[in-house]
């Protein structure tokens, strides 16, 4: 199972095994990673599962859909180059070792 590292704003890390096909948001929730709110449960409807993807992985992710792009304009923490909604990133073996940082706020 591919591993993902969730880094908190204070630098603390959770390393989580994510089944292929699960979203980064779901894996965070089911492993009780703090800081991912996901009020809408993965519907790309609330922008409260925002993460910053480490530079090395940005290009390897599936592209940002129009819907996700619009929602990323509405995140509580600032949008940066690596900003993604974790509910929209499905885990696959190619993403082994992915590192994401959780912003300081989601609402």
């Amino acid at each position: 199972m591919p591993k993902v590292t969730y880094r908190q704003p204070d630098g603390a890390e959770n390393v989580v095994d994510v089944p292929a096909g699960w979203s980064l948001m779901e894996a965070a929730i089911q492993n009780d990673v703090d800081g991912i709110v996901a009020e809408c449960g993965g519907g790309c409807a609330c922008a409260t599962c925002h993460v910053y993807v480490d530079d090395a992985f940005v290009e390897r992710l599936p592209p940002i859909s129009d819907m996700e792009g619009d929602m990323l304009e509405c995140t509580a923490a600032e949008r940066r180059a690596g900003s993604r909604l974790s509910c929209q990133i499905k885990m696959s073996d190619e993403l082994e070792g992915l590192v994401v940082t959780i912003p300081d706020r989601q609402t």
Partner: protein, 407 residues
């Protein structure tokens, strides 16, 4: 003498949020969450969407894993119903016979489905979608079914219809009113969704009432007040919900189509708060009382309730928002748009991405967005801040609403 715990009655989204927020507000004492369903608190929205469609397994519906409750010191009693509140002795009485003392109590009892009342409605082919068990049952029943009749053209019924059409079932939707989702959206949005469903092959019958359900050779026959008969293997009823306020009412708390709470989620007993679908509450943003059935209300009001329990009351002023997924179309609603005096289109319905913005008393009061999340988020922000914006501005796609919202 040890202090009694804080007890939360109701293991849905609001109940979990009260628990989490109590810890955030610094409550360090004992905390107990009592839930009637025998499973960890889980998300209900997917029950009529992806979960019903088989895209999700039950393990992925939980809000949090068991370790979360251990970590936060939230004791769970699941599969247990609270049958009475003894406010004099400050105890709740449970279905297993136990009596549990509380220091403060939060009621997050939610709603239950409104049952269809016509003759034959108790036939086993007639189903509802509220709980995980309901959705599991429906999922299995749909597996062998060829013909589905949906009674009620609201969010639940239409989401189920969309899932069933994707599975190739014959689907009839029967709605008593003359338009879909009439309680929540404008006629323009209702009409768009009628066309959408008909385009996906749904046999939509508006302004039609169900008069009886009769057993047929195979399945049932749904009879209508237009003298029609629709044969079905499965009937799904989605005609609204009823607040679970009987427990509160029996304990002498003020109830009126829900547990009456003030803007800080206080019931008529200062030791008791209530939050979520079950409350008739004062919303400071709207300036009036209402009952809301939504994730947003469950989460935001639960936070307010937890603050009140920790003697840090803050009024509930959040902007209501809702969403519904039908086929690949996302409907997002911000504010309370109806009734309105003016509705303004932004975008192009023919292109499948547009919003209607609603104005009441000359001010923006809400928006319904179809595949247009940026409008939805901008509207939420504009409403929350009370930013003045004109119909001409929202109707002009050259105007960046989020920029105005950011000020």
């Amino acid at each position: 003498m040890a202090t009694a715990p804080y007890i939360v009655v109701g293991g849905g989204q609001a109940g979990l949020q009260v628990c989490d927020s109590l810890r955030k507000f610094g409550y360090e004492g004992e905390l107990l969450l009592i839930g009637e369903e025998p499973v960890l608190p889980y998300q209900r929205p997917p029950l009529s969407k992806h979960y019903l469609g088989g895209d999700l397994d039950a393990a992925r519906l939980s809000f949090r894993p068991a370790s979360h409750y251990e970590k936060l010191g939230i004791a769970l009693r699941l599969g247990v119903r609270v049958t009475a509140i003894d406010r004099e002795r400050r105890e709740v009485v449970c279905s297993d016979g136990s009596r549990l003392a509380y220091a403060r109590l939060a009621l997050t009892t939610g709603t239950r489905v409104r049952p269809l009342s016509c003759p034959g409605a108790e036939h086993p082919a007639v189903r509802y979608v509220r709980t995980l068990a309901d959705s599991d049952g429906l999922r299995a029943a749909l597996g062998d079914a060829r013909r589905l009749v949906v009674v009620g053209g609201g969010f639940i019924g239409l989401e189920v219809a969309a899932v069933a059409r994707k599975q190739g079932k014959d689907v009839v939707v029967i709605e008593a009113l003359d338009r879909l989702m009439a309680r929540a959206v404008s006629p323009q949005i209702s009409n768009y969704y009628a066309t959408l469903h008909r385009g996906h092959g749904v046999d939509l019958r508006l302004a039609t009432g169900v008069t009886a359900i009769e057993p047929a050779v195979s399945g049932v026959r749904v009879l209508t007040d237009r003298d029609e008969a629709c044969e079905a293997d499965v009937v799904v009823v989605g005609i609204g919900v009823v607040a679970n306020d009987e427990l509160a009412a029996a304990a002498g708390l003020a109830c009126r189509n829900g547990i009456v709470v003030d803007e800080c989620a206080r019931t008529s007993d200062p030791l008791l708060v209530a939050a979520g679908d079950c409350t008739m509450h004062m919303n400071g943003f709207l300036g009036r009382e209402l009952r809301l059935e939504s994730v947003q209300n469950a989460v935001d009001q639960a936070r307010v309730a937890a603050g009140t329990m920790c003697d840090q009351p803050e009024p509930y002023v959040q902007v209501p928002w809702f969403w519904s997924d039908q086929y690949d179309v996302k409907l997002q609603m911000a504010g309370i748009g109806m009734p309105c005096e003016e509705s303004v289109l932004r975008g192009d319905p023919a292109a499948g991405s547009f919003s209607y913005f609603y104005f009441r008393d000359g001010r923006l009061c809400g928006a319904d967005s179809v595949n247009r999340p940026a409008d939805h988020m901008a509207c939420r922000r504009l409403l929350a801040q009370g930013t003045m914006i004109t119909p001409a501005q929202v109707g002009d796609e050259g105007v960046d609403l989020m920029q105005i919202a950011r000020g």
